[in-house]
Subunit: 230 residues, 4 copies
DNA sequence: CATGAATGAGGGTTCATTCAT
DNA sequence: CATGAATGAACCCTCATTCAT
């Protein structure tokens, strides 16, 4: 198994092969369970060559994270074209996101599962990428508010929290779609848009769901599903 | 550190001590980095006894997952009392969830981070628990629809997706709250309720955000935040 | 080969076996060329046990140095009994030294060759032992001066230099005796006594060999072998 | 750093550059810790060329030993000019020896430390050179005896031992001088001459320090510093 | 049951050494 | 000859796991 053993390739090519193998192995086995032996074999090279090019397991993992993070951000940015209205941009950004994570499940596992579980150094690496996406979504939300000519009193802090929640929900859905068979990209994106867009609209309109007092006891709460809307 | 070394305890108690130590070690060090030596020492027990009671590292980890999963589900179920209206049930269920994950960060790390990153066997174990919670939320959504006397055309698949998204968002928020200092349980729950409830209400009212055709091309869509309502 | 594989020995015994094997291997192969595998096999144990008891190759080497250094100093001290006159004490100290180094050639190689060639940490370890012996010899020289009622103007600094030279010569002779077949302990000791004792006496009497001017050119120097004596 | 990269040099020159780099690296890092990569880089040469010219690490090391040994012997021989009386010849030989070792510390480290600590093959190489120097010193001692017209009963074996001791002491002093700052060549040579010359003179005059019987027991020996003379 | 003794198996890392270009 | 690509063979170290007492 593994790539066909072709000899004497230029360094750049070999490095990509190694990163391919590493992402796959790290994504499936996990960072610690992945052995450099397995990665080297899967890449069709000897272990010393992996070390010659990528120095150490940590560096190799970091290189994987960087490559996958860059690719993911690029995919999302390429998906959401700036000319469109905000909701359409969000839609196509989500579509691109789900498409990319579905096409690169190991890369996504490396970013979302492995990198966050094995040391702050790696976690920081993905946190940087995530922050970029969150910022992107934040701008989208603000743009949507401008589009709707409604900018009542949404403090920047709250917008950031909403973007966090949206991104978090998207990440969870990506995991779910990757694990559950038969879920299409459009379904995931549509679910999330439906789930989130109205909530955003309500918030911007100043309508909120008010939590009850802390330990309410038996009271006749009459809040229904339609209550926040009206 | 570690439990005080007391002799001759009944097996059930000893096992709980071991699981306590294991959950803590697995949660903090990670599955692979946790050593049986450390767990045994933290439990105040000799290593052979750990093997006598729990067979292997894998079995020990599985036992940890099962115990923590059961506890989490129980906490959520206990939180949401059946008599209340659906949104209040969801609110108290979320509150219970965030409270539990905040009080048992190592258990939560075991379930949400470690179990999903180290082999399908463990992942399946948490998937079962998660399915239980998702089903619980699904029933809540359906009950909410009944409460509102509006059950137009919500296909089961879509409800499942919504429940997934809600649970996923809750999980993300739990992680975020566990990592970010100064975030209270009420804040997390309120953020999520605000974010989600309106979307759910809109969906049940038949209002949805309609995705564009697949490769949209340059079209002059002027949908703003209110557009999905129309 | 190696020790007969006896199982379940108390730790102290096993440790000595390991140190025996380590001293032998380090002495013959050298620190870097010695492999932990070989040492473990020679000791009749598995490699992990060596690590369990002695932590690392460095620690193992340090333990070897300490054990051999302590043994050597003890042997020399035991040899030179305090009641005798200084020259006799020196004689028996030298005899003990040569006897010990001849009986433990690997230990001597560890101390004199390996420890000095592989890192300052190890070198410092033997330097401490050597300083102890040099101090011992220094005291012997001073005692000899007292015995002979001649304490003219021998500055402490010079005595230290002489002790250094004497110890250095003894070390070299030990190497030589270990490498050249047919050299007895008595021969080595006698050679060194004859070589050194008169020089010491002359120095204490204030007689020195005076070096010529720096670049003398062709001059009729008439210093013979007897000149310093007179 | 390293030699300036100049192209197309004759083989002999290239080889010397490699040997220079090798001696320096071996002397500072030690035989095993020195890597062929480092040597090649320091020599300003590609690694395959090193192998083309010098075959292997072992051969390269042997070549270093031979070159440095030859240079050292030549320096000593050149120092001691045959016309002078024996003590002056010894003096100038020692001076040359200390001068050379001080000027080529890496070469000296290779000969005296590295070659003796890494396998019998290398040790034999330096042993041959050392034998040459010892023989040279032996001849000097015999010449001195002739000069003094006193050749009583000096057995060849004993002369050899004396030469060994003298050379060994010189070697120790060279190490000491190389490690201790502020020690001049003249000081080293003077120390050794003072230390040794009287002993030699006494021996040639037939005066020796007589060792006691093997297991002496409690006897009232009152030998002081002057006793061997009597 | 608790303890100390003990190990098989494997993981990360390095290095001398060799070809093809 | 110089260079970059490539590797076989170790080496140090660790850990889950098991017995004998």
């Amino acid at each position: 198994m593994g790539a066909v053993k072709t000899k004497r390739m230029p360094r750049a090519v070999r490095e990509q092969q190694m990163l391919d193998a590493a992402v796959r192995t790290f994504g499936q086995r996990g960072y610690m369970a992945a052995s450099m032996d397995e990665i080297a074999e899967l890449a069709g090279v000897s272990k010393p060559l992996v070390y010659l090019y990528l120095n150490s397991k940590e560096d190799l993992f970091t290189a994987c994270i960087r490559r996958e993070a860059t690719a993911l951000v690029a995919a999302v940015r390429a998906g959401a074209r700036p000319g469109l209205p905000a909701d359409r941009q969000l839609w196509s950004g989500l579509t691109a996101f789900f498409t990319h994570t579905a096409r690169h499940p190991d890369g996504w596992a490396v970013l979302h599962l492995q990198a966050r579980t094995h040391g702050v150094v790696f976690a920081a690496e993905v946190a940087a990428m995530r922050a970029e996406i969150v910022e992107f979504v934040t701008q989208l939300i603000l743009a949507a508010a401008r589009d709707a000519h409604r900018d009542p009193d949404l403090p920047e802090r709250e917008v950031a929290g909403l973007a966090e929640a949206l991104v978090g929900a998207a990440e969870s859905l990506a995991d779910w779609a990757n694990t559950t068979p038969g879920v299409t990209v459009r379904q995931s994106a549509a679910t999330l848009m439906n789930f989130a867009w109205a909530g955003l609209g309500d918030l911007m309109a100043g309508r909120r769901w008010t939590p009850p007092d802390d330990e309410p006891g038996p009271e006749t709460a009459q809040s229904g599903l339609t209550s926040p809307v009206t």
